[in-house]
């Protein structure tokens, strides 16, 4: 039973600030994923949690105990590394038991029993007598997981554990990790640069950039209500389209189009930042964000009402399940996820409709979101209404 609290945690390497004062509460039994681009400080945060790096400032509290200056071995956490970190000269069994035997906290019977249980949980009984070089990547990572769970730690810390596996195996291991977490219920902090992994595994996801936390939320909330432009563009593939607009009378005005912002007339709104409804000032500049899947060809939905925009197709990318169109709306580049097998060629001009419930506006300077066309609280009802409309 472990809750972990980070308070104003900082880590500097000489003049580089890797972690820039983050506050985070990890609740007991939670599967928390930290995601971000390379160098955003996510791995450093994990290593600070493990005690492998000394914090420059701030504190780490586990279950009410300040562990900021506590040795790694006394934190009772287990770490799983990207490169598995198996001792190459030891068999699977010895890899799993080496730490326990060295620490001297366990009797031989207890070790045997725990290895047996872990082997059963992870289905690695036949790997115990093999050395790592005789195992595949997936098998090695299973043994590494076995080594982590056998000590029954207070928390698992996983540093990109699936990154060295091939795509197919990664998806399989992802499901197994989720299953493992369900059965063990141990607090898990998982670091990845892969947003798909973050979305599928995390009960909550922390998005980091430049050593700071950009947003912490459940995966769907993160996707639907990004707190800022960075999160909006980082989460989701292909990334959200960003179009520069001016706000005039509750309408987003671009060189090539003007679309009304639903609910903006009431003078709204920002659920995502948690600072309540804020009137949208007329005449302010903004960046309009629309996800590629929320744009579609007007011909695909003849019954949909509302504005349409004209776009010129630059490149087409057939993805099998959809057709990705790289277009230009006026001067602005824009991606559209259209239905597959459409007969569209580069150079064509297409008419585009959009989902009015899925519009976002960001401040062009700070990047903070100040408008989502669908509010957080009413998201379910509006989504249902939108579904009926389709």
């Amino acid at each position: 039973m472990t809750t972990v609290t980070l308070h104003d945690l900082r880590k500097e390497f000489d003049d580089v600030v890797a972690v820039n004062g983050i506050d985070l509460e990890i609740v007991d039994g939670e599967f928390l994923v930290i995601v971000g681009p390379s160098g955003c400080g996510k791995s450093t945060t994990l290593r600070l949690l493990a005690g492998l790096e000394d914090a420059t400032g701030g504190e780490i509290v586990m279950d009410g105990r300040d562990v900021t200056a506590v040795e790694p071995k006394d934190r009772n956490v287990a770490m799983v590394f990207q490169n598995y970190a198996l001792y190459p000269h030891m068999t699977g069994r010895r890899n799993i038991t080496f730490g326990m035997k060295s620490s001297g906290d366990f009797t031989d019977e207890a070790i045997d029993r725990r290895v047996g249980e872990a082997a059963e949980t992870l289905d690695i009984a036949d790997l115990l007598d093999r050395k790592p070089q005789a195992m595949s990547g997936g098998e090695r990572q299973r043994v590494a997981l076995g080594r982590a769970i056998v000590r029954d730690p207070d928390a698992f810390l996983m540093d990109e554990p699936l990154s060295n596996l091939d795509a197919k195996l990664r998806i399989q291991m992802r499901a197994e990790l989720a299953q493992l977490h369900t059965s063990l219920g141990t607090t898990t902090v998982y670091v990845t640069h892969d947003q798909t992994e973050a979305m599928t595994l995390g009960e909550r996801v922390v998005v980091m950039n430049d050593g700071r936390i950009m947003q912490v939320d459940e995966p769907q909330t993160l996707y639907d209500f990004p707190a800022n432009r960075f999160v909006a563009e980082f989460i989701g593939d292909p990334a959200m389209n960003m179009l520069p607009v001016d706000i005039e009378n509750g309408t987003a005005v671009h060189d090539a189009f003007a679309i009304p912002l639903p609910n903006a007339d009431g003078g709204l709104r920002n659920g995502a930042n948690g600072d309540g409804d804020v009137p949208i000032r007329d005449g302010r500049r903004a960046v309009l964000g629309v996800r590629p899947e929320d744009l579609y060809l007007a011909t695909e939905r003849p019954d949909a009402s509302g504005e349409t925009l004209a776009a010129t197709v630059d490149v087409t990318e057939p993805l099998g399940d959809s057709l990705l169109l790289h277009c230009s709306i006026g001067e602005s580049p824009c991606k559209i996820q259209a239905k597959p097998r459409s007969d569209i060629r580069p150079g064509d001009t297409v008419s585009i409709a959009y989902d009015p419930a899925r519009l976002h506006c960001f401040d062009p300077e700070s990047g903070d979101a100040f408008y989502h066309s669908e509010s957080d609280a009413s998201s379910e009802s509006v989504a249902a209404a939108a579904d009926q409309g389709r």
Binding site: A50, D74, N83, Y87, D105
Partner: protein, 294 residues
């Protein structure tokens, strides 16, 4: 054949190889062959060589003094090799673990290796001289009388220590490279598991470093048999009472003090065979325990 021709013609590559071949043949293979031949002759200055067959070897086989020299050499080599590897490993580990000033520690450990053996021997002589030595006072204050000019066992220890001290730098250079090659995540995993420092060295680092350590054991063995001549010559001259008369010094005396070239050649052949056999055994044993990655 390689798919890529580096040189324009065979003559060019042959010409480039020639200097190396020439030096090897003139200073290595020809003297070796000549020594092998001389070992069957009675040979010295100012008289004609006389073929004596195996007489020189028979003389060695029946000489108790020579038997003792072989035993001393093997024990000396064992002490030096084990001493060098163990001390170097521990020093390497300390340097590896230290956070600041690594370069300074590394240089101070390596510098004895940069000295010529003769200078090293003289330095050690001043450190441990029975009456003038810097360390003699402190050691005698522990209740040990330093008298290695007369005490054979002490002389053996002093020469072995000097030989170990001189060779540590060479070993540390290779060991620090090998230890730095151990992935950090293994160290970190051990730290998280609460594996103590020495146990980490013995159970994690050393097994992964085995190829390097094996290489160093071979090099150190050759060093102990051949490269320690200067220490024996300058510190003890093989004495007292032949307590430090290792094979390489023994054969030097035979050849260049007594000018019995035939016997000295036979001794060098025996030394070659002894070291060769030891190498073979080392290869057989260490190959089984070496971890070559994968």
């Amino acid at each position: 054949m390689s798919t890529r021709e580096i040189f324009d013609s065979r003559i060019e590559s042959a010409l480039l190889l020639l200097p190396t071949l020439l030096v090897s043949v003139v200073f290595l293979y020809y003297p070796t062959a000549l020594a092998f031949r001389t070992s069957f002759f009675d040979s010295s200055f100012g008289r004609a060589e006389v073929f004596v067959g195996l007489e020189n070897y028979v003389g060695l086989v029946t000489s108790s003094g020579y038997h003792r020299s072989i035993v001393i050499s093997v024990v000396f080599a064992a002490v030096v090799v084990v001493g060098v590897v163990v001390v170097s490993l521990y020093l390497t580990f300390l340097i590896h673990e230290v956070d600041t000033g690594q370069g300074l520690y590394l240089i101070s450990v390596i510098w004895p290796y940069a000295l010529p053996p003769a200078v090293g021997a003289l330095v050690f002589l001043f450190i441990t001289h029975p009456t003038l030595g810097v360390l003699t006072g402190p050691i005698e204050s522990l209740g040990v009388e330093v008298d290695w000019f007369n005490n054979g066992s002490q002389a053996f220890v002093v020469v072995a220590l000097a030989a170990i001290w001189k060779q540590i730098g060479y070993n540390v250079i290779f060991m620090i490279a090998a230890m730095n090659n151990v992935p950090d995540t293994l160290t970190e995993t051990a730290e998280l598991d609460g594996v103590g420092g020495l146990r980490r060295l013995v159970s994690v680092y050393v097994p992964i470093m085995t190829p390097t350590i094996f290489f160093l054991v071979v090099i150190n063995t050759i060093y102990a048999f051949f490269g320690t001549f200067a220490f024996v010559d300058l510190l003890t001259s093989g004495g007292p009472s032949n307590a430090t008369n290792i094979l390489i010094f023994n054969l030097y005396q035979e050849g260049f003090s007594f000018f019995n070239f035939g016997v000295a050649s036979a001794k060098s052949v025996v030394l070659f065979v002894v070291v060769g056999v030891l190498m073979f055994v080392q290869f057989r044993i260490t190959d089984r325990y070496s971890y070559y990655g994968g």
